[in-house]
Amino acid sequence: MPAAEHKHPNYIAIWIYLALLTALELTVALLHFLPRNWLVIALLFLAVWKALLVALYFMHLKFEPRRLVVTIMAPLPLAVILVLAVLREYAK
């Protein structure tokens, strides 16, 4: 029963995926081929993408009961509101 309950995704594939995204991040950040605003958006997008991979597969959120996922997602809208509010106020 436990083996069936614990789904193990291909961790090595996720690791390679994360390594490739990190390499892409460095390329985008250091080669400066994007305009400043697009650079920031691209880097944030890649960071969130990597963070999602860690949360979904390494922290097994993809395989948790929906009730737990909904409960622990509660602070995320608050975090987004805080960041967007200060960005709107201060970003030039």
């Binding site: 436990p2 690791w15 990190t22 944030l44 737990l68 409960t71 608050l78 960041v83």
Partner: protein, 206 residues
């Protein structure tokens, strides 16, 4: 003797071990760790929010982090932390399958990788301080040391906790498929990795 006897509460009439009623379908330690981690989300969001205010509200020109900071060695450190997350999930998988030698090997790998991260961060700090970049060197200095310092503190706590878990693993405390302790510390470890992924982008690359 070879296999641990079924715990008394695992009677067939009871729902599975992992879905007791009233705990969101997970065991208590895991739920407790997740609740703690959600509060940690707000802790780091507060730091990031302050960083945005100080950086974009700053009257003076903000230094280019990719020129001030050592990106190469920090990128390597990022990769080391990602590797330690992989060894952590490998340890968890080994614990679930009661592979004791695999569990000890992967836990040790995780402790060594985590300690390496802290060591490299220490060297990075030493070099930056030597170059005159200190917490008192303006807003960039203070926000840089506050954000990476709090994260480094979390990694250090994780390494200490992980060393304790590894010691317990060597004493056979997780034998018989008792994976809960490994999964719970693993959640903390992956969260610290996740926060670094965000901080590395915000502090070092943007």
């Amino acid at each position: 003797m070879a296999h641990a006897a079924a715990p008394p509460d695992a009677a067939p009439a009871v729902a599975t071990h992992e879905s007791p009623a009233g705990t969101l379908g997970v065991y208590t330690q895991k739920l407790g760790m997740w609740v703690f981690l959600t509060s940690e989300v707000m802790f780091f969001t507060a730091l990031i929010g302050s960083y945005i205010i100080l950086r974009w509200g700053s009257a003076t020109e903000w230094p280019d982090p990719t020129k001030t900071l050592a990106i190469g060695i920090t990128a390597l450190n990022t990769f080391i932390l990602i590797c330690s997350s992989v060894s952590m999930v490998k340890a968890y998988a080994a614990a679930v399958h009661d592979d004791q030698s695999g569990l000890k090997r992967w836990l040790l790998t995780t402790v060594v990788a985590g300690a390496t991260f802290v060591g490299i961060q220490f060297v990075e700090y030493r070099n930056l301080l030597h170059e005159g970049f200190t917490p008192s060197s303006g807003l960039f200095g203070s926000t840089f040391y506050a954000m990476t310092g709090f994260h480094g503190f979390h990694v250090t706590c994780g390494v200490i906790a992980m060393a304790y878990v590894t010691l317990r693993a060597f004493r056979g405390k997780y034998a018989g498929g008792k994976y809960e302790g490994i999964e719970t510390i693993g959640l903390y470890w992956h969260f610290v990795d996740l926060v670094w992924i965000i901080l590395f982008t915000i502090v070092y690359l943007i």
